[in-house]
Each structure stands twice: as C-alpha cells, then as structure tokens.
C-alpha cells in the first residue's frame, strides 16, 4: 500500500514537472531562436509572455460573450494573442533592434536595449492595469482522471497536448519550409545569405514573430491554467526560460524544449525530496544545472563553435 502511494506520488510529480516544464519550453524556444539568428539575449522575452497573457485576457473579455469562456473562447483568445503579440515582436525588432544591427553595434548595446524594452513593456502594462492582479476567469472545471491519490485534470492534459502540437508545428516550420531553411541559413552566415538573395531583415522579423507568438501562447495558457495574471508575471519565468535555453544549448530548438522539461522536472523533484523542500528547491535545481554546465558548457544539445569576438 505504501509503495503504491509512493508510486502515485512519483507519477503525479512527473506530471506536475511536465506541465511546468512545457511552459518553460515554450518561452525558452523564443530565447533560443532569437539567439540562434542574431546572437542576442532578448531579455524582453519574459515580458512578451506577460503581454501575451494580457492580450488573451482582453480578447476573452471581448469575445467571451459570443464564444463563451470555455475551450472555444480560449482557443480564439489564444490565436488572437499569438497573432497580435507576434506583430508586437516584429515591431520590437524593427524599432529597437534592427537600427542597431544596421549600424553593426556591439552585442552589448543590443543587450542593454533588450533590458530597456523589458522595462518599457512591463511598466506600460503596470500603468494600464494600475498594477492590479486580474482574475483570468474561464469556465473550465477540475474534472479529470483520478486514481487513488493521483489526480490529473483534463485541463492539464490539454495543456501538455497543446504545447506538444505547437512544438511539433515549429519543428516542421523550421525543418520543412523555405522560411525555416532561410532562418537556419542566416544563423550560419548572414553575409552569404545576403549574397544568395535571402531577405535577412525580413527573416529576422519572422523569427521574432514566431518566437513572440509562442511566448504569447504560453502566456495565455498560463493565465487559463493558473487563473490570474499580473504585470510582473514574466520576470521569473523569463529568467527560468533563459536558463532552460542555456541548459538545452542556446540556439538549438530541440535543446530549448528539452531544457524546459528538465528544469520543470528538477524543480518538482526538489520540492518533493526530503532534505530539500520548497525553500531549497531553487538551490537544488541550480546546483545541478551548474554541475551540468561545468561538464558540458555548451548545454546538452549545443554545438561548440568558434567565438569571433
């Protein structure tokens, strides 16, 4: 009986870690894609996730009366948020980053600009929402599968499936389409791409669009899943997703997915393990990550490359 209970607890924690990890993965993808193509750590990415949650919240408020606040309304809100925030990503790229790229500015200037964009975004949302928490109200129930102490809601299952679909879609886009090919080519050599007639600026914008849309999807899903949103919600997840991208090997798409899942699972394990517990879980998680990076500095799936500083 006791062994059985322990078994259920492990399964439950695996599920918990998987869901948390899939949020990290979705946000980490955007970090990794942008880094892969222009070597920029886009620190505004966590805030794009936050803006995504708020746009989804607004869309659900607008269309909720027509489509309801069940899955139909949520899906509509998700799509609207992904598109709008995708365009926001393009605007950020064109206004904040591209002028610096054109002037061949040092990467450090881009990094500072990214921090500035982050501040701009969350302060703007703070002012617009008066810094208040908003309840993301949906009509989803807590129904699900429960076996003994094991409890998995349908919402949780749908979240994981949705993440998987988005990631597979991205994988297909990067590896099977012309646009994806262009992105991969630019990551290798921008100048050669220009000579081959690839519109580099447009392709970088497209990368921002896709990365931001994925973060927006994660933001809306987090709003639906956790039930409340706040202007500062992107900060911690931004840091964690960045970590996930680095563990996976920054610049690598499967690496970002893997890194997010590993981070989620480690945190969950840390909370449950005796002698670690919730207060020490971050120390535990990051301790292991440091060990991992010491043994493999490029991350799990990262390739070592010659740095041209």
């Amino acid at each position: 009986m006791h062994v059985m209970t322990d078994f259920y607890i492990i399964i439950q924690q695996l599920v918990n870690g998987l869901i948390l990890g899939s949020f990290y993965s979705l946000v980490a993808l955007g970090y990794s894609m942008v880094y892969g193509i222009i070597k920029l750590l886009n620190f505004a990415h966590g805030d794009i996730y936050m803006v995504g949650a708020f746009v989804g919240f607004g869309a659900l408020g607008l269309f909720g009366s027509v489509l309801g606040i069940g899955w139909l309304g949520i899906t509509a809100a998700l799509v609207i948020s992904m598109v709008l925030v995708g365009f926001l990503g393009i605007v950020i790229h064109r206004v904040a980053y591209q002028p610096l790229l054109n002037k061949n500015a040092p990467r450090m200037s881009l990094l500072i600009t990214a921090v500035g964009v982050s501040f701009t975004l969350f302060n703007a949302v703070m002012v617009m929402t008066s810094g208040e928490y908003k309840a993301f109200t949906t009509s989803l129930s807590y129904d699900g599968i429960s076996v003994g102490p094991l409890n998995i809601t349908y919402t949780q299952i749908i979240m994981v499936v949705a993440t998987a679909v988005l990631m597979l879609g991205l994988y297909w886009f990067i590896n099977r389409t012309m646009y994806g090919k262009a992105m991969r080519a630019i990551a290798l050599d921008q100048d050669a791409c220009r000579l081959m007639g690839i519109n580099v600026t447009k392709t970088i914008s497209l990368t921002f669009f896709v990365g931001s849309a994925l973060a927006a999807a994660a933001g809306v899903m987090a709003g639906v899943y956790y039930g409340s949103i706040h202007f500062y919600m992107g900060f911690i997840i931004g840091l964690k997703a960045f970590t996930a991208a680095v563990i996976g090997g920054i610049g690598s798409i499967p690496g970002a997915m893997l890194g997010g899942l590993i981070l989620g699972l480690l945190e969950t394990a840390g909370t449950q393990l005796p002698f670690v517990g919730s207060a020490w879980k971050d120390v535990f998680t990051f301790g292991i990550l440091i060990l991992l990076l010491v043994t493999k500095p490029t991350g799990i799936l990262g390739k070592s490359e010659i740095e041209r500083m």
Binding site: Y133, S146, A222, H230, T271, K281
Partner: protein, 386 residues
Amino acid sequence: MSKKFLSVLAVTLLSFTVIVSGCGTQSSASSSGSSDQSTASSGDIKIGVPLPMTGSEATYGKDMENAIKMAVAEVNAKGGINGKTLGTVTGDDACDPQQATAAANKLVSEGVVAIVGGYCSGAVVPTLTIYNEKNIPYIVEAANSSKITDENPGNTFQINGTAVHQTQKAVELFKKLGAKNVAIVEQGDAYSSDLAKQTEAAWKAAGNTVVSHDVTTKGEQDFSSLVTSLKSKNTDLVFWTAYYADGALLIKQLRQGGYKGAIVVGDGSSDPKLIQMAGAAGEGTYVLSPPVAEFLPTAKQFADAYKAKYGQTPGAYAPLAYDGINLLADAMKRAGNTDGKAIIKALIETKDFQGLAGKVTFAPNKTLQESNFIVLQIKNGQFVLQ
C-alpha cells in the same frame, strides 16, 4: 540655458511645497476652536488625533477621523466627561516620520490631554516619547508593528491585534477544526515569515504537529509540486500566511490537485479579491481578519450611523477608532480628572471594557490580553463571520 531653466524649476517647485505645507499648518491652527471645515472641534478637553490626512494613506486616516468625531459627538451628547465636553485636534502625520514628529509637537503645544489615532507604524514610533515626556496617554488603533510594543515608553496602549494575537486566533481555529497535520506555507518576506514562524511555535507548544513549513517564491505561479508534496504528508490543514494574489493561486491548485482538507489564510489575504481570484476553489476557506465593522454584530448600529452621516461604509479601522475614544472617555471618568498620569493609570486598570471590536483588557505590555481577530469563511462567494 537649460541649467538656468532647471534651477528656476527647482525654486518654483520648492516654493510651491512651502506654500502648500504652510497652508496646511495654518488652516489647522486657525480652525481650532471653530467647528467648520474642521481639522478641530471645540471642547473643554482636547484630544489629539494624529492620522494621515494627505498622501497615499489619506483615505484610511480620514475614515478613522470620521469614526473618532462620531464617538466624540456621542460622548458629548451623553453629557461629556464629568460635565466637560470633548474636542479633537487633528494633526496630519502624512504617514511620514518627520511630518509625524512636527504634528506631535504641534498637538502638544495646543495642550491636548490624550492622543487617539495612529495608522502608520513608521509615523507612530518616533512620536511616542514626545507625548510621554508630557505624560500624555496614546491609544493606538491601527498601527501594529512590534516596534511600538518594544519601544513603548509607558504611555502607549495598542487596542488593535498584533502578530501575537493573530497567532493565538490561528491556533484556536486549528484546534476547533480538529487539525492533526498542519502545513504552513509562507513567502519568505518579513511579514509572512514572522506570522508563519510564530504560528508554528505556538502550535507545536500546544503539543501538535507541523508536517511541513514551506517557503514559496513571490511571483512564481506554479504550486503543483508543493500540493503533491503536502498531500503525500497527509496534511489536513494548510495555513497560508502571505498575501491574497499568490494565496488565491495556492488555494486553486490545492483544490485542483484534489486536496480535501481545510485551508486557512492570514490577514494579508483578507481581501475580496481573494474570493474573485480563487473562484469556486475558494469556497470554505477560512480567513483571519482584523475586526471589520460589517462582520461585527455589535457594530451594526455604528455602521448604520456612520453610513448615514458620511455616506460610505466604515473602513477596516473605523470600529477601533470609535472604540479608542470611548475607551479614553471611560478611563477619564474612572480617573475623575484629566491629569495624564491618572488617565494612564486608569487605562492600565481597564478591565473588560466592551467596545465594538470586543472586550479590552490590557496585558502587562499594554497590548490586548485577548485577540480581537475574527474568523471569516468564504461561503457562496462572500465572507461570512464564523
């Protein structure tokens, strides 16, 4: 050019500040003795009321001042104190230590015999000795930092609950609910950590078990692994000591994860937004709260009268502000005169004074002997008194 502009701007701003603050002082000084647009009301016995009248906390200060004036009018209508009437002089402390000190000196110079008020702890602490030097008793109604208790020079009485009182009430509630395996969750900040640690100590001292004491990170949204961990320890009561926003997340995820036991939250989560954000999962949650008028059966009449007079419902600390004046009036009557030392002695001897928020008897450290925290429960989307 731009430098010149800046200095002109600075001078203009500075002089503006001087004019504004000058006005503030003047109007409150000139209106003492006349009861129109009043920061002061006439009376034979002057009571000082230091509260924030400007700044971010002004709403609370105004609310308490309203309740204080109501109580003073009622005492006077019943014949005052030994034939003399009461009057108030308001000093704006703006929730700021420096301005509070200035306001305190002004109140002393106006010859107040007692002080009733005190909203911000930071603005109360530096004024205690100013009043004590003149043997002026101070009844504090809202500020509840342990610093006030620790630095009390002897003239100060706190009629609001402190962390100790909340802990008492929490332990009482846990017992009533028959809890065996209590889990405490805090956020690592001074306020929630203090309440969590004190409750853990008190609960253990009463011979009970705390199965886990968890610390979550502020702003982190996912509690699922914590929920599973709590369930695996057979927790039957979860006590959340931090604020409502993350509290609502925890409540939701506890219920989502199939946790069936009791959930209790501290006064930091005592906010209608908790109900809104936790939704259906919030039902049945117990909330520790300071004595709010709408939940006190004894305060029904007070709340109605307040609403009739000021056109709004009394705020969180209005009942205590009202109690403060009545307690002072009671002490003055027992003392037989308005000498500061005599009033302080009478206040110390207060026994079972019946106020809106419960009975007042002071412990040796001049805080309440018995907790006045109340327990609310969320039922059908509303707070209901337990």
